[in-house]
Amino acid sequence: MSVLHVTSPHVRKPMTTNAVMRHVIYGTIPGLAVLTLLFGWGTLINVVFGSLVAVAAEALVLRLRNRPILFSIKDGSAILTAVLLALAIPPTSPWWITVVGILFAIVIAKQLYGGLGSNPFNPAMIGYVLLLISFPLEMTTWIPANLTEGVAASPSFSQSLALIFGSVDRTVIDGITMATPLDTFKTYAGNDLDMLRSASVLQGSIAGVGWEWVNIAFLVGGLYLVARKIITWHIPVAMVTSLFLLAGLFYIIDPDSYADPIFHVLGGGTMLGAFFIATDPVTAATSNKGKLIYGALIGLLIYVIRAWGGYPDAVAFAVLLLNLCAPTIEYYTQPRAYGHKKANSGIAKS
C-alpha cells in the first residue's frame, strides 16, 4: 500500500499560480492585437523579444541565488512582467530600451527583493519608470495610429524589425512620430485651443485616435480575467470610477482646460493599468475594502499627475506610489475575525 503522509486538506482547487499568470497573459491578447493593428508589429516584436530577455535574466539571477531555475521560470511571472512592460513602451522603441527596462525590472525590482511574491513594487512599472525618466525622448515618441488623418499605414513587419533592431537612422521616423493624444492635450489645453482642436491625433475620436480602441481591447481582456476569477472587480472599478468622477468634476468646472472624463478613462494606459497593472496581487492590497481604497487612490493620483504633473501619463507613477501604501492600507482594512468584537487594525504590537 502506497500511502503518503500529507496533511489536510487533501483536495485542492485546480487553479495554480502558473495558471493565474498564464491567464493574465491571455488577457492581454486583445490589447496586443489592437496595438499591432494600429501601430504595426512593433509591440508584438517587443513582447517576444522582451520575454526572452526576461527569462534569461531571471534564470541568471536564480542561478546566482542558488534557487531552482526551471521551477521558478515555469510560474510565468517573468514573462508576464516582460509582456506588460512591452505593452507599455512605444512600439518602435529600439531594442536596448526593452533590454534595459526588463533587466532593471527583473533583476533589481524583483529578484533583489527576493523574487516572486516578495517584491514591494510592480516590476514592470519600475522598469517603465526607469525608462521614462532615463530616456524621455524615446519613451514619448509614438508613431500615430494608422487611423489618424494623413497617416498612411503603420510600419510593416520588416520596417518594425528594422526600427527596433536595425541601425536605421532614427531621425527617419522622427518625421512620422507625433505626440500622443494625452501629450497633445497637455501641451495645448488651456492655452492654445485652436491647436488643440486641430491636432490630428484627436480628430474624430473620443480619446485620441486609436487609443479608445486600445483601451476597449484591454477592457475586454480585463473582463475575461474578472470572469475567470483571476482578479476581482474591486481595483479596476474603484480606479476607473475615481478617475472618471474626478475628471468629470473638473470638466464641468472648466471644459477648456480639462479633458472630458471619457478621454481620461479611454485614453493613455488607463485600462491596461486598471486591469493588468494595478491588480498585480503581489503589490496590491488584498482585502476587498483595501482594494477599493487602493484602486480609488490610484485613480486619484493618475488624474492629479495627468492634469497638473510633469508627465503626460501617470499610470506607472500612481501604481508605484500606491504600492508603497499597500501595506498600510492592509493594516487598516483587516476583516473582523469571527468571535471578535472589533477588527484588528494597525501594526501588530509586540
Partner: protein
C-alpha cells in the same frame, strides 16, 4: 418557516463526491478477528482499564473506567476475551501509540446487562446526564468531546437554542446523511432527550440542502413536535460548530468562549442517535456509522462498525484495493488526516475512511511563493488573513500571529484549498499553534518553577534562622549546666574527687563519637541517594525525558548534600579524635556541646516552633484570602506544608515520648507514608503529563480546550500539592 439564515463569510464549494457512498443501505460490518479498543477515543483523560488480560467480557460491559471529569468509560463492543492491554498505534494525526485493550471476540455477540430508562422524564436531570456519560458518548462529528459535559450546563444558564448539526459539509462523507435517512425517528428521540435536559427555547436541526432525502426524513419525523428543520445552502465549512451557530442564530461565539456562553448547545447527529440508544435501549456506545469511500474501494457505502475494528478489516470487507489508493484518509478530504498504518482501529469519532486513487486526489504539487492573491482571505470562514498568518507562522513571529488571531483558525482547510501556490497553509497554522502552546506551557512551567524556588528559598532561610536560635539556646543551656556542675564540683570537692571532674569530659567524648557515627550513616545514605539519582538521570537521559533538567538539579542537590554530610562527618571525627585523648579536665568545645542535649527538649521545641509557624501561615492565608491576594496559592501551599510539618513534629514528639523501640517503629512508620506520598506525587505528575499531552494533541479548535486546560492545571496543582506533602513528610 421563513427563518433567516445568516451567511458566513468566505467558504468554498469543493466537489461533493457524496453520491458514491449513498447507493447502498447501511451495512453491518463483520466482527473482526480482533478488536483493538483505545482507552482514549475522546478528548480528555484516557480511561483506566478495569479488566485483566484473560477476562471474559460481555458486549456493553465497561472495560475501562472514566478517569476524571473530562473523561469517558470504554465498553466492550462485543463479547469475548481480553487478550492484551498494551500500546498500539491509534488514530492520531501524528501517528502515536496509545494504550489499547485488545479483545478477541467469541462471535456470539452476547449483550451484558442493559438498563434501558423507560421514563427518563421522571428522573433527575443529572441522573440522565450520568447515564449518557456512562454510556461513553462523545461528540461524534470531529473532536470527540464528552457529550455529557456539554449537556451538563451550569444551573442558571439559559439555553435559547439547541442545535442538531446535520450539515455534514465535508465532501465524500455521508454517514450522517444515511443515518438520518434510515433512522430519523431514533435521532429525533435522542434529540428530544437533550431537549428535555437543557430545556431550550427552540430546537433546530441544521442540514445542508444537498441532502433532500434526509431533509424529507427529518421533516416527517418532526411533524408532531416543536423541532424545526432548517435547510442551509451547501457551502463548506458550514458544518463547523461556530459557523452553524452563526448561520442559524446570527450569534457569534466569542473568541475562546463556549457556545453555551451565548445560550446555544450544538450536538452532532450521531450523538443524538447514540443518546437515544443509551437511554431508551440501555446500550452504551459500541458502534458507529462510518463511510467507506474513495475510488479504490469497491463497495462504497456506510457501514455500522464496532468500535475497535481495525481499519484494514473494514477496508477488506468493503473490497478496497489499497495498491490503487494514493493515500488513506481518516475523516474527510478537507480535515481528515492520512494514516500510515491500516491496523489502527475505528473509534468514536471516525466518520469516514477515504481511500482515493491517484487520479482522484493527486499528489500535492510543490509549494510556490505566496503571491498575496488574497484568495485565502476571501474564503476564510473565520475572517482571518491566512496569508499574513502564514508569513508569521513561517518566520516564527508568534506574537504577531497571535495578534492576527491565529487561535481563531478552525483549521477547516478552505484557505489551502484555494491557494494557487499550493501552500499547505493549515499545516503552517498547526505548527504555529503548537509553537504558541509550547511557548505558553513553558512560561507556565517557568513560573511554577520560580514560585517553587522562591518558596524553597524562603523556607530554607527560615530553617536556618530557627536552627541558629536553637543552637544558641542550647549553647547557653550547656554553658549554664557546665557552670552549675563546676559550681557543684567546687562545692563538694572531697566526696567525688576521683570521678566527678572527669564526667563532663567522658560525656563529651561519647557524644562526639556517637555523633560521628550518626553523621557517618547520614553521609552513607546521602551518598547512596545521590548515586541512585545519578543512575536515574542516566536512564532519563537515555530515554530523552523532558524532565532532564529537574533530574539534573536533584542530582546536584543530592551530591552537594552528600558532600556536606561527609564534611560534617569528617569534622566530627576529627573533633572526636581530638576530644577523646584529651585530659579529663579539658573543657568541652562549644561546637560539640549543643549536640549533647536531650532529644525530647529538641522535639518539643521544634514542635512548638512548627505549630506556631503553621498558625502564623494560616493567619496569613486567611488574611490573604480576605484581601484576595494573588499569591494565595503560594500561601496556601505554605500553610499546608507548615501544617503538615507541625503535625508531623507533634507526632514525632509523641512517639519520642514512648520507648526507644517504639520510636524506632515510629521512624519506620514515617518512612512508609513518605513512600505513599511519593507514589501519589508520581501518579499526579503522570496525570498532569497526560492531560498536557491531550491538550497538545487537541488539533481541533474546540470548546473543550478550556475544560481540558482546567483539567491539566488541576492535575498539575495536585501534583504540586503531593510534592509539597512529600517534602514535608521527608523533612518530618
Amino acid at each position: 418557516m421563513s427563518r433567516q439564515i445568516w451567511d458566513i463569510p468566505g467558504g468554498i464549494h469543493p466537489a461533493q463526491n457524496k453520491i458514491q457512498s449513498l447507493q447502498t443501505e447501511i451495512t453491518r460490518a463483520d466482527i473482526p478477528a480482533e478488536l483493538v479498543i483505545p482507552t482514549q477515543q475522546h478528548i480528555g483523560a484516557p480511561a483506566k482499564p478495569c479488566v485483566e488480560v484473560g477476562d471474559k467480557v460481555l458486549k456493553g460491559q465497561v472495560i475501562a473506567e472514566g478517569n476524571g471529569f473530562v473523561s469517558l468509560p470504554v465498553h466492550a463492543p462485543t463479547s469475548g476475551e481480553v487478550i492484551a492491554i498494551e500500546s498500539r498505534p491509534i488514530q492520531h494525526p501524528s501517528q502515536i501509540d496509545g494504550v489499547c485493550i485488545v479483545l478477541k471476540p467469541d462471535s456470539n455477540d452476547t449483550w451484558g446487562a442493559r438498563h434501558p430508562i423507560d421514563n427518563y422524564q421522571s428522573l433527575e436531570r443529572n441522573d440522565v446526564i450520568d447515564a449518557i456519560r456512562n454510556a461513553g458518548i462523545a461528540g461524534m462529528g470531529g473532536a470527540g468531546f464528552p457529550s455529557a459535559i456539554k449537556l451538563g450546563i451550569k444551573p442558571g444558564t439559559k439555553i435559547e437554542q439547541l442545535i442538531l448539526n446535520s450539515v455534514e459539509c465535508e465532501p465524500y462523507i455521508t454517514a450522517d446523511d444515511k443515518l438520518i435517512q434510515e433512522r430519523a425517528d431514533e435521532i429525533i428521540a435522542g434529540l428530544e432527550i437533550m431537549q428535555w435536559l437543557v430545556n431550550p427555547q427552540e430546537t433546530l436541526i441544521g442540514i445542508e440542502d444537498n441532502k433532500p432525502d434526509a431533509i424529507a426524513a427529518f421533516k416527517k419525523a418532526t411533524a408532531n413536535n416543536n423541532i424545526e428543520v432548517v435547510v442551509v445552502p451547501t457551502k463548506y465549512p458550514s458544518g463547523g460548530e461556530k459557523q452553524l451557530i452563526y448561520m442559524l442564530t446570527g450569534k457569534e461565539v466569542s473568541s475562546g468562549g463556549l457556545p453555551s456562553d451565548v445560550g446555544v448547545i450544538c450536538q452532532n447527529t450521531g450523538t443524538a442517535y447514540a443518546i437515544n440508544r443509551a437511554i431508551h435501549h440501555g446500550e452504551p456506545l459500541v458502534s458507529r456509522i462510518t463511510t467507506v469511500t474513495g475510488d479504490a474501494v469497491k463497495h462504497k457505502g456506510n457501514y455500522e462498525v464496532l468500535l475497535g475494528t481495525p481499519v484494514d478489516a473494514l477496508l477488506a470487507q468493503a473490497g478496497a484495493d489499497m495498491s490503487a489508493a494514493s493515500r488513506l484518509i481518516m475523516g474527510g478530504p478537507m480535515m481528515g488526516f492520512s494514516i500510515h498504518d491500516a491496523s489502527v482501529p475505528v473509534v468514536k469519532v471516525t466518520n469516514c475512511l477515504l481511500a482515493p486513487t491517484t487520479e482522484e486526489i493527486p499528489v500535492p504539487a510543490q509549494e510556490q511563493a505566496c503571491i498575496r492573491c488574497g484568495s485565502c482571505a476571501q474564503v476564510c470562514p473565520a475572517g482571518l488573513l491566512p496569508q499574513q498568518l502564514y508569513w508569521f507562522s513561517k518566520s516564527n513571529e508568534l506574537e504577531k500571529a497571535e495578534h492576527f488571531n491565529l487561535a481563531d483558525c478552525i483549521e477547516c482547510g478552505a484557505c489551502s484549498f484555494v491557494c494557487p501556490s499550493n501552500i499547505p497553509l493549515v499545516q503552517y497554522f498547526r505548527f504555529g499553534k503548537g509553537q504558541i502552546r509550547k511557548h505558553k506551557s513553558e512560561t507556565i512551567k517557568a513560573d511554577h518553577a520560580r514560585e517553587r524556588f522562591e518558596f524553597r528559598q524562603a523556607r530554607l532561610e527560615k530553617e536556618e534562622r530557627e536552627k541558629e536560635q536553637k543552637r544558641k539556646a542550647r549553647a547557653e543551656a550547656a554553658a549554664k549546666k557546665q557552670a552549675a556542675k563546676k559550681a557543684a564540683a567546687l562545692a563538694n570537692p572531697p566526696s567525688d574527687a576521683s570521678g566527678s571532674p572527669t564526667t563532663p569530659g567522658t560525656d563529651d567524648v561519647a557524644d562526639t563519637a556517637s555523633n560521628a557515627t550518626k553523621l557517618k550513616s547520614a553521609w552513607a545514605s546521602a551518598t547512596k541517594r545521590w548515586k541512585d539519582a545519578e543512575k536515574a538521570l542516566t536512564i532519563a537521559e537515555k530515554n530523552g525525558s523532558d524532565q532532564l533538567e529537574a533530574f539534573q538539579k536533584k542530582v546536584d542537590q543530592l551530591k552537594a548534600k552528600a558532600e556536606k554530610t561527609k564534611a560534617l562527618y569528617e569534622d566530627a571525627k576529627t573533633s572526636a579524635a581530638s576530644t577523646s585523648p584529651s585530659s579529663p579536665s579539658a573543657s568541652p568545645s562549644p561546637a560539640v556541646a549543643p549536640v549533647s542535649n536531650d532529644p525530647m527538649v529538641q522535639l518539643k521545641q521544634a514542635s512548638a516552633d512548627n505549630f506556631k509557624a503553621w498558625k502564623d501561615a494560616q493567619k496569613k492565608t486567611q488574611e490573604a484570602e480576605a484581601n484576595s491576594a494573588d499569591n494565595l496559592e503560594a500561601l496556601r501551599e505554605e500553610e499546608a506544608t507548615l501544617k503538615a510539618k507541625s503535625d508531623a513534629s507533634k507526632a514525632a514528639m509523641k512517639e519520642a515520648r514512648a520507648k526507644e523501640k517504639e520510636a524506632m517503629q515510629a521512624k519506620k512508620a514515617t518512612e512508609d507514608p513518605t513512600k505513599q506520598l511519593k507514589l501519589d506525587a508520581a501518579i499526579a505528575r503522570t496525570k498532569a503529563k497526560k492531560a498536557l499531552k491531550a491538550l497538545n494533541s487537541l488539533d481541533d479548535d474546540h470548546a473543550s480546550h478550556a475544560a481540558l486546560k482546567a483539567a491539566y492545571e488541576k492535575a498539575l496543582a495536585t501534583a504540586d500539592n503531593a510534592d509539597a506533602a512529600l517534602k514535608a513528610a521527608e523533612e518530618a
